[in-house]
Symmetry: C2
Subunit: 431 residues, 2 copies
């Protein structure tokens, strides 16, 4: 029986400090659960001097990650520096040195996860990444174990807290995107450069990871369509409200008969949907399985302690495997090779807002073009504003389900109609 | 490498048929995930002839459970007959014959789970029971693994779909308890004898199981206070609505410094609480950990396929352990011996509705008695009805947090005041 399992941590930033303080604070209880002590024996970070919100023996700190990767006494390497390089090299070298891996690195996983997971699998070493999606919310392991009896049909996530905070402010406070972003930045919920969040990159990494596991087929983030929330206006969030929807940045993955539909974009979501009540910086992940039906996982999607909780959960799981000689127990589950469908194959509903000339026959004319292109309409709402001022009307449409390429063809024709001044917004509707 | 893992199923009722059909329908995918085939080789049920919604080779059916328990080729025994006896004996004998166990039997676990889990642990055999709480919602394993780094502070569950359906109808349709129950019975959501659900027994079993795992200390259901929903009136659900609450049957477990607070009762819950949107037959389990913060798990709490999904998830997990020689990997996690606190030690808020004489000074008098007994008041609402007809007023109070025994003392004194005609309702408020 081992007396201790040694952990080396690469990266002592926000999440690293969270994980370290959890291991300290709950260490005794964790040791009893695992059956042996977990010790953080080395920590690498490029910044040796920074003040950190956690106390620890500074003598274990190094600025050389290879002091950990090459340390024969380290059992588990926890990579928390983020980014593809050098994190990918660190992890690969650590695997080759026989280390088990815990990481929160969504970008690395979504870009180069496959080769790392294969390497770990062949070596019967563990590779866990619960913290890469949904902060502390258990989702990776439930998909791999608890829901393993299901064919997962779809995963829909609100997986980016920054954009969800902004969208919640826009909808509840009536703010415009710019105001809501500025407020989120002031509160520390958005980065000074918010591109990664507001353009949907972060959510794309996460849905690539979730889809890979849910559909047992590797998804590379390069194949994931993503669209951000920067062009959303308060006008559309208030139409959403009026029509019984909220607006969310959704990360959507559906297993269709001919391939996987994977996309990130703002969407109208009915207020009755379980994800509709996921507000502020919270995350929620909705899963539909052919046996379990609909389940949802909800919680804090970020923050040092929440993400730290997921990191420590992974460490505990691996430590138990080490104790009972069962590392590599669940290898990479990407057993299939399903294609990612092109965006044109997407089947969804649409909300369209347009300004037209305010004269008889316009509504019928536009509706006619939709119809000619097999776009069936569910809702039409016309509000005439400023008649006499500029003689324009605003028309809002919600379609029934339609193949994206058909919809785009219809919309191009509508845009070219002389009576249509502008297509102001075009947002997918997820039911 | 094994070519197959053999499963014997005891009980082919609703959940058994669900699990069997999942193993059939998703069998190939499951086999690839596990790395070997899962075969149901024997099924025992007292009813050999009943028509069942699943096709299978009738020659494997027996009415003698010991044909499974004593079959040397069976690896995993799945017990789905429910109830304490003979299920407990079947499981104990199967454990002694080296079988791993999957069960959905909440009553058995909550009454006699400890001895069975200890037996399994000593023998390094697996004993899984994800389906015992929350149907297909992953909750047991996330508590044991993903959230293992946390000290869990509280678990609050809507874990009984029948009562949640009734309460949702009362609140949304304005029905009274009797009407809503009758409707639930008509739809098959409530049993002809609904006692087990509406009196809170079922929820008590489930919170005993959840608390045992969350707080790593055995909870026997005999120590769990439970109160049903039969005396709830539409009047109180509509007051709840008016005051910004919904009414739910909550199964509550809190880890207090001096012991565990565990109780099942109807409660007012603010509409902003994540559990407030868990409606109809759905279940939701809210968990607060000292690292992860608040997380919630949501889904169908019952039904053959949802519960079957959890059963199959357990089977897959055990099968993976068998394949890599790591059975008994996670033994019983009840490592502590914390007392269950007496109900009088409960700290909560209260909603009280009473009828009083409608004359000056009554409100002040009642408020005075609350104050003398250290019950601090948050909300008072007086609506005078029927003045002149019977000269009575209705007063509704919501207290701040108070120790239950202090509250009861105050209430007894108030009840004895000559101006107080009746205490009509007294419902705990969970914030």
């Amino acid at each position: 029986m081992r007396s201790a399992i040694n952990i080396g941590m690469i990266g002592l930033g926000t999440v690293g400090c969270g994980a370290l303080s959890i291991l300290q604070e709950n260490g005794d209880a964790i040791a009893r659960k695992v059956g042996c002590e977990l010790r953080v024996t080395r920590i690498a970070d490029i910044d040796l001097d920074r003040e950190r919100p956690v106390q620890f023996d500074r003598s274990i700190l190094t600025n050389d990650a290879y002091q950990i990767i090459n340390d024969p006494d380290v059992d588990i390497v926890v990579e928390l520096i983020g980014g593809v390089s050098p994190a990918g090299r660190f992890i690969m070298d650590a695997l080759k040195n026989g280390k088990h891996i815990v990481t929160a690195n969504k970008e690395l996983l979504a870009r180069e996860g496959h080769s790392l997971l294969v390497e770990a699998g062949e070596r019967k070493q563990d590779f866990s990444f619960e913290a890469s999606v949904g902060g502390g919310i258990p989702i990776i392991r439930p998909l791999k174990i608890d829901l393993a009896g299901n064919r997962i049909e779809e995963v829909i996530g609100i997986v980016n807290g920054t954009t969800n905070y902004i969208l919640t402010s826009m909808s509840q406070e009536g703010e415009d995107f710019g105001e809501a972003l500025a407020e989120a930045q002031k509160l520390g919920y958005a980065e000074p450069d918010p591109t990664n969040d507001v353009e949907g990159h972060d959510a794309a990494y996460k849905i690539a990871i979730l889809a890979s596991i849910a559909f047992t087929s590797r998804v590379n983030v390069a194949d994931v369509y993503h669209e951000g929330i920067t062009s959303l206006t308060q006008r559309d969030t208030s139409y959403a409200e009026e029509l019984g929807y909220c607006v969310k940045l959704l990360a959507i993955a559906k297993d269709r008969p001919n391939g996987m539909e994977i996309r990130v974009h703002p969407a109208f979501l009915p207020k009755s949907h379980p994800l509709a009540s996921v507000n502020g910086v919270h995350n929620g992940i909705f899963v539909r399985g052919n046996a379990v039906g609909d389940v949802m996982f909800y919680g804090q999607g970020a923050g040092p302690m929440a993400a730290g909780s997921a990191v420590v959960g992974d460490i505990v799981d691996i430590a138990r495997n080490i104790v009972c000689g069962a590392t590599g127990r669940i290898a990479c589950t990407c057993l299939d090779e399903k294609p990612v469908l092109p965006l044109g194959e997407t089947i969804t509903k649409y909300y369209v807002r347009m300004r037209t000339t305010d004269m008889p026959g316009v509504l019928a004319g536009v509706a006619g073009v939709f119809g000619e292109n097999d776009v069936s309409l569910a809702t039409v709402l016309q509000k005439t504003r400023g008649r006499g001022k500029n003689g324009q009307a605003e028309i809002v449409w919600i379609t029934h389900e339609v193949k994206e390429e058909n919809f785009r063809r219809a919309l191009a024709k509508i845009e070219s109609l002389p009576v249509v001044a502008q297509i102001n917004a075009c947002i997918r509707v997820e039911e």
